[in-house]
């Protein structure tokens, strides 16, 4: 009797910590397929965005792994300040997930990015694993609505660019989202100058920069690499690893981006310039 009680107390203590240790065996958030269904339900009502930019070349602010907490908001504030001061950037920004570190922090993140929304700068996020800890998926979805969607950017002379968000908070797209991605990418072939896919989980493990970060299963990694290559994806953006890495495989460029998280080794954000090519520039935050 003593041993089960002790184990139960340990489990309760561990779950009270800011890390969802129970997630090692079981997630309290909805499954990947269920999360995708929720996103799709929202998309059916809200539709998909189409953004017109004034020039053929435009600059996109991208951040990942902000891991905001009550005490760690300096870097997200710096991102917001820089973005607001940049009059040449496109009127939207991309967030690859892990906006928060702990449970109950989504409101803090949302309040710190609110000046961007007030300035008409649209937020295109997807969810990371930290965003769905402790069953927080519903909280995330109530604020940010959808983690799987596409939007397009229309330029005056260069045609359109397509951006596709895929949610991989649990290290898999799940069956339904994978089928949706293939449908969208297949329909989009030949219609866009650039196709960008972004998701939280990174695809390759060329170093052990964060040691315990997981990837997709190998079957899924190769399946998605083949899908992206067949359908003409130009660039895949990921986070999760907190360290930058550029990989080209099957002609597709995979960029794992630096984290924004305070106290990481080299935190910062990225600005991607879309023109004839796609250029990435890292902005460090001291």
């Amino acid at each position: 009797m003593k041993k089960p009680c002790l184990l139960l107390m340990m489990a309760l203590c561990l779950s009270a910590c800011n890390v969802d240790w129970l997630g090692f065996v079981y997630t309290r958030s909805a499954d990947a397929d269920a999360r995708f269904a929720q996103s799709l339900e929202y998309n059916a009502q809200a539709g998909y965005a189409s953004i017109t930019v004034p020039d053929d070349s435009y600059r996109v602010y991208v951040l990942t792994d902000a891991h905001v907490t009550e005490k760690e908001t300096r870097n997200i504030d710096r991102f917001v300040t820089d973005f607001l001061a940049d009059g040449t950037a496109a009127p939207f920004w991309i967030n690859l997930g892990d906006s928060v570190n702990d449970k109950g922090q989504e409101g803090i993140f949302e309040s710190h990015i609110s000046p961007l929304g007030a300035a008409g700068l649209r937020h295109f996020p997807t969810a990371g694993n930290h965003d769905v800890y402790f069953g927080e998926w519903n909280e995330w979805a109530s604020r940010f609505h959808t983690a799987t969607y596409w939007f397009e950017v229309i330029t005056p002379g260069r045609g359109k660019d397509l951006f596709i968000a895929l949610e991989s908070a649990s290290g898999t797209l799940g069956h339904s989202q994978r089928a949706w991605a293939e449908e969208i990418l297949t329909e989009s072939q030949g219609k866009y100058a650039h196709i960008t896919v972004y998701t939280h989980t990174h695809f390759w493990k060329r170093d052990n920069s964060q040691t315990t970060t997981g990837n997709f299963a190998l079957e899924e990694t190769y399946d998605l690499a083949d899908l992206f290559a067949r359908t003409g994806v130009d660039i895949v953006l990921s986070g999760h690893d907190h360290a930058a890495e550029t990989t080209v495989f099957k002609g597709v460029r995979y960029e794992t981006l630096e984290s924004l998280k305070m106290n990481d080794i080299s935190p910062g954000y990225n600005i991607l310039t879309y023109g004839k090519a796609i250029e990435r520039n890292f902005v460090p935050i001291e």
Binding site: F24, N129, D207, T212, E219, A225, D226, F249
Partner: protein, 240 residues
């Protein structure tokens, strides 16, 4: 080299390299019943492939008293062919035995035009019930249609298992966790939970089975179901 040619090359290399050892191995141990060849039917399901089936061959044999070889070859309807070989020097110690494990692996994911090679080294200890090993591996992922490749160096390689009964029992079960099975080597943070067993039908023939369960997202701390594979077959032990 096309997918079919790679497939045939792998099978040929396996047949020429491994199976002859069964016939020629100077198995000088007192109990040569540890020379074993098995054939299994494989089936499974995962979030990427839905359902799939296939077959596998396994060889396990002591080449010399202190050198064991285990090898597996698998072909799946999902367009995958994999081969794995472990060369294990084994040395008895006071309690159990210590072993090294030099692992070579090839995976042909022909449906995707991807090949992967892996080389790993690990050390371990085992007794009648417990086996544990840990090491490192390096993986080369190759695009069959271009010169693009990805090298994933220095990934941990591990296996922990518990065998229910001591060796030589008429049936047995072994369960554990590893980042590799007889047919695939995953990344370290994508563990596979396995259960395998045998039931002796006769002096040399056994019914064997295995179950591998692969979750995803465990190290995201958002564990989810990814898939499973199961196999059932027969093994035959040779005496030399």
């Amino acid at each position: 080299m096309s997918g079919k040619k790679q497939w045939l090359t792998l099978v040929l290399a396996w047949l020429l390299g491994v199976l002859p050892m069964v016939a020629k191995a100077p198995c000088k141990t007192a109990d040569c019943d540890s020379c074993e060849v098995a054939v299994l039917g494989i089936g499974g399901q995962n979030r990427t492939w839905a359902g799939y089936g296939g077959g596998a061959l396994q060889v396990s044999l002591p080449v010399w008293e202190h050198l064991h070889i285990q090898s597996g070859l698998q072909g799946l309807s999902s367009g995958v062919m994999t081969g794995l070989i472990h060369v294990q020097p084994v040395f008895p110690v006071k309690k159990g035995e210590v072993f090294a494990d030099v692992t070579g692996y090839y995976g042909g994911f022909y449906k995707y035009g991807v090949s992967e090679w892996l080389a790993g080294g690990s050390v371990g200890w085992r007794n009648e019930h417990i086996s544990a090993q840990i090491g490192l591996s390096v993986r080369w992922i190759l695009d069959r249609d271009s010169s693009d490749k990805v090298v994933e160096p220095v990934d941990p390689f591990y296996r922990i298992a518990y065998r229910l009964k001591a060796g030589g029992a008429p049936w047995n079960l072994t369960g554990g966790v590893a980042n590799y099975s007889r047919y695939q080597v995953e990344r370290a943070m994508e563990p596979v939970f396995f259960l395998e067993g045998y039931y002796r039908l006769g002096e040399r023939l056994s019914l064997i089975g295995e179950l591998n369960i692969k979750p995803t997202g465990m190290f995201h701390l958002v564990a989810s179901w990814y898939g499973f594979s199961a196999g059932i077959g027969l093994s035959y032990r040779f005496a030399l």
